[in-house]
């Protein structure tokens, strides 16, 4: 019975396709697969905005929004209506075509990236041979849209925010891709369904998720931090923080275009969390073999919500990193650690399936983490806070 529940969406799709004439079936198959993504994920975005505001509120010892709907859970409806009816102000000196296209240019790559993620068993929209490469390739479109937004506003602060955001995104792309390379090395394929299948084996009832190995844990943590930086979330949200640069590269956007940027940012966050889940947390597989009866898409969704909850928690707890601190962190800590992770993954593969490899790999990673951390802390004069007054 649970197998049928697992494949219920695939069965429904074949049912609908069966009613159509044969000439239309390929097109209908594509349209049905694709149509689910702009329906499900913006819906998830709406719920997550409310959860985020309530979560942040609770972390900051206040209630979040609690007026609209039961416990405030219809707040996204109010936000959506506000965004739609607000006046769309375009600066007079702005470059109108580029200003209009920037939010569109952000949404298109982000929605494209969902096409290669496996949401459940046999539930991928486009099962490319080089799926992982496709994901990272369309990630580059987001940086171009950030530049378009910042430059077309003809505003010095927007431009500054855009340059900083692009520099941050480019710097953190390297640890992101290098930590994904370790997974590709172990599996031998860039196909995301293949990567999930490799994690679908169970030893002593525990799944072979890559996060349960030393190089996988290091890779997952690197991937998580780098994806925080790629989505411009705290503690890496200097380009768009309200207390720093008003709103950075989307200062001059109002109304629906701002809502589109907001949507694009959250959808990007979900997409990259989905990729992290696929690569390291086993995708749609269950962690323990006695839990495999739960449908695969339920596992994917719960893991996604878990990672989103961790992102919200980090946002409410950690302070912001300054620009030079950000860049130092990316180039002097994360990049060497990602490279050492690749070497450790190679050592893991060649040492044979016994207990010594756990010891050696963990020892190398712990030493590297400690030494690099000491290197970063070298010039910091950390002590009791001193106050200086203007004379």
């Amino acid at each position: 019975m649970f197998d049928k529940l697992d494949q219920i969406f695939v069965t429904l799709k074949h049912l609908v396709m069966g009613h159509l004439p044969a000439a239309w079936q390929p097109l209908a198959s594509a349209v049905i697969s694709i149509a689910l993504i702009p329906i499900v994920f913006p819906g998830l975005f709406a719920i997550v905005t409310v959860i985020e505001r309530k979560g942040l509120g609770r972390i900051q010892n206040r209630y979040g929004p609690n007026r609209v709907g039961p416990f405030g859970f219809l707040q996204f409806v109010a936000d959506g209506i506000k965004a739609l009816i607000k006046e769309d102000v375009v600066p007079r000196a702005a470059d109108k075509m580029v200003h209009f296209l920037a939010p569109v240019m952000m949404l298109i790559p982000v929605l494209l990236a969902y096409a290669v993620l496996p949401f459940g068993r046999k539930m991928v929209v486009a099962d490319y041979d080089a799926g992982l490469l496709f994901f990272f390739a369309v990630g580059g479109g987001v940086e171009l849209s950030v530049f378009m937004a910042g430059w077309s506003s003809r505003n010095k602060y927007s431009l500054l925010g855009a340059m900083r955001a692009i520099a941050q995104m480019i710097s953190y792309e390297l640890p992101l891709i290098l930590s994904a390379v370790t997974v590709v090395m172990m599996v031998g394929s860039l196909n995301l369904s293949e990567i999930v299948k490799h994690q679908n084996q169970y030893t002593f009832g525990i799944a072979h998720w890559f996060v349960f190995s030393p190089w996988g844990l290091a890779g997952f943590l690197l991937f998580l931090v780098a994806s925080l930086a790629e989505s411009n979330r705290t503690p890496f949200d200097l380009p768009e923080a309200e207390s720093e640069i008003i709103a950075g590269y989307f200062t001059e956007y109002s109304g629906f275009k701002f809502a589109l940027f907001f949507l694009g940012e959250y959808l990007g966050m979900f997409a990259i969390s989905g990729l992290g889940i696929t690569l390291f947390l086993g995708g749609w597989t269950a962690p323990f073999s006695f839990l495999t009866w739960i449908p695969s898409y339920v596992w994917f969704l719960s893991k996604l919500l878990g990672i989103v909850f961790v992102f919200i928690w980090i946002r409410g707890t950690l302070p912001r990193l300054r620009m030079d601190q950000l860049m130092n962190f990316a180039w002097k800590f994360m990049l060497p650690l990602a490279l050492i992770n690749i070497v450790v993954a190679g050592i893991w593969h060649y040492m044979g399936p016994d207990w010594p490899r756990w010891l050696v790999c963990s020892a190398i990673l712990a030493c590297a983490y400690g030494l690099l951390g000491l290197g970063l802390m070298h010039n910091q004069k950390l002590g009791k806070r001193i106050y200086r007054y203007a004379e």
Binding site: D129, G140, L144, W151, K156, M163, I166, I170, Y389
Partner: protein
């Protein structure tokens, strides 16, 4: 020879012509990004998936952004007042026409072109990886060395020397955002400190 491929070619050519002829440099760079995406779409329709994805990753994701950053760093974002064409542009156009005529004539009248194959080739990632690691391992290592050398070279060329270079003295006025605030009258700071302490 599907209709989609012809449309992709036409869109790419229009974007390339626009990239080379617009006045505003940032518009040129954005049109270039569109041209690159068009070429990537053409690769995808010619069964060269890996090349298409690599094209988007390398060209749109890195080179287009590099070009716009360079445009901003050389302050070329505003529209130029004078002509955008160099002196001697006519000779350039003549040579272009000659080049294209030669290439086009060679393509259309050549008898050495092979007949089209029966089925589409498969370029799986596994085959590409096998080829790169067995037959083309030497070019791979040379490319790695070359990329390292290019990276180090680019950083050294564009490195801003502190102090003694000629460009850092003299006429560069810093960007002034608004007026400099006038200095506060001397009495107010002490009175504020008394209030706090």
């Amino acid at each position: 020879m599907s209709l989609f491929l012809v449309i992709t070619f036409v869109v790419t050519l229009l974007a390339a012509v626009a990239a080379m002829s617009l006045r505003n440099l940032v518009h040129c760079a954005l049109m270039l990004a569109i041209a690159f995406s068009g070429i990537a779409a053409a690769y995808l329709q010619l069964n060269a998936e890996f090349a298409g994805f690599t094209e988007i990753l390398v060209y749109v994701g890195a080179i287009a952004i590099l070009i716009v950053m360079a445009i901003l760093l050389t302050r070329s974002g505003e529209a130029p007042e004078k002509s955008v064409l160099t002196s001697g542009w006519l000779a350039g156009v003549v040579v272009t026409v000659m080049v294209f005529t030669t290439l086009g004539w060679a393509v259309l009248n050549s008898t050495a072109l092979p007949p089209p194959p029966v089925e589409a080739p498969q370029a799986t990632v596994k085959n590409i990886g096998d080829m790169l690691m067995t037959r083309y391992i030497l070019p791979l290592e040379i490319i790695a060395l070359m990329l390292t050398a290019a990276m180090i070279g680019a950083v050294i060329i564009a490195f801003k020397e502190d102090g003694k270079s000629k460009s850092s003295q003299g006429n560069e006025t810093p960007i002034q955002i608004g007026n400099q605030p006038e200095p506060l009258p001397a009495g107010s700071v002490e009175s504020r400190k008394e209030g706090v302490a």
